[in-house]
Point group: C2
């Protein structure tokens, strides 16, 4: 298992070959074995396999080719709708459309999705998370017809990998781990943590291609620039308010 | 691996036996192999092992005995501080203290934590997630000295299990999965999805002990009542605003 974890890579090219329904069910079931708050399972999974639906999803995911190619697209949702329906049907008054439960359900949906990723890889499938689901959530809400109380947290394509894919680097563990208390980083710490990544061949190429002086600038100016962050952040916030029925100034 | 996933249970009693530092590092490293947005690794892990620190954490976690007993307590944090420091030190202007990146980092920290859970279980350890970290986050922020940009997302204790622990039930998969589009639940769907759980011996006992008529009422009146939800939700929201430097009405 730990080997499987260390072998994880994002797969962005898939064979034209469907995923067997029984296998898919088993993988999704593995997802639901993850720890979750109060065993309330405040999440749902939308499975998209039809060609026309995948084409529409592909458009929403900024037309990343792997989305069109993969036979399965999964949308992991925070879902306070089902639990609330159950409560109302059982003479109980739910009060879960607030920031705490939005946050809780987001975490639980995430844990579930990571189990799905690993169970899929264990079965020889490849996966790729699609962060683009958080950019304009309302478009996914509309396409997938998510009712109030349901919010798209994470998306993933899966299928049989076509070819092999590189393992991406990670920052040294010491850069991420704090003992007992958070020890804030000084200039030397930052230099040390990012040193290897900054000196890699890949970074050299990135700086050339993007005509930047530092790798950080590739992130702040090309990949995730301020303006895009602000626009997407606003869209995400408004979608959360709408789906959870919040007054924006008081989401609790 | 999939067997490991299906065998997951929360462990709430631990042997008085430390976790070897090399093993712990390997487990945390497995955490960092999870997919993450842009490979930015906007998360941190605070490892608490000292007795006095664990006693304080135990108090914050509503004195759940397993927190005091487990040799290791992990706090998985969204961390936009380190990445922003790096940007500023590299002539780049970070713009990540907004709702989008708070949400993104929350998801990434969650995926990482689930890898940690599974790698720990693969090594014979047991884990228990502690949802209480989301109830009064500022107390964790203060105790662990988390600076601005850093937010506690999930907490977990781990150690060698003392005894065996039951597998908890799950709702039938069909209740969680939607094909192509979200199909909202009607009365019959809800009855069917919750039927087995509602008729279990465990539910019968719960209703007796709590003197309730339905299992849903145990959730809405005993476990997660409206007043507590509201209080915790407000505390979570205020903590997020403080740590991310948001104007509450405009967190983007």
């Amino acid at each position: 298992m730990t080997d499987l974890i260390f072998n994880h890579r994002s797969v962005r090219k898939f064979l034209d070959c469907p995923v067997e329904p029984e296998l898919l069910s088993r993988i999704l079931e593995a997802g639901c074995r993850a720890s979750n708050t109060g065993n309330m399972q405040v999440y749902s999974i939308v499975v998209s396999q039809e060609q026309t639906m995948r084409e529409q999803l592909w458009a929403l995911h900024l037309k990343q080719p792997c989305v069109l190619q993969a036979p399965v697209h999964l949308t992991f949702c925070a879902d306070l709708n089902r639990f609330s329906l159950w409560c109302r049907q059982r003479q109980a008054s739910p009060s879960y459309e607030n920031f705490l439960w939005f946050y809780t359900a987001t975490i639980d949906a995430s844990l579930m999705s990571q189990n799905v990723a690993l169970a899929a890889e264990d079965a020889g499938l490849g996966i790729c998370y699609l962060g683009t689901v958080n950019y304009e959530p309302m478009r996914f809400v509309e396409l997938l017809e998510l009712p109030r109380g349901v919010f798209p947290v994470a998306a993933m394509v899966l299928g049989y990998p076509d070819g092999s894919f590189p393992l991406t680097d990670r920052l040294p563990l010491e850069g991420m781990v704090h003992y007992e208390r958070y020890r804030d980083y000084d200039v030397g710490d930052i230099d040390r943590i990012y040193c290897e990544r900054e000196q890699s061949e890949q970074t050299r190429t990135l700086l050339e291609v993007n005509q930047k002086q530092t790798l950080a600038q590739v992130f702040t100016e090309n990949r995730y620039p301020g303006e895009t962050n602000l626009r997407c952040s606003k869209a995400l916030w408004e979608a959360a308010c709408k789906q959870m029925g919040w007054k924006p100034a008081e989401p609790f």
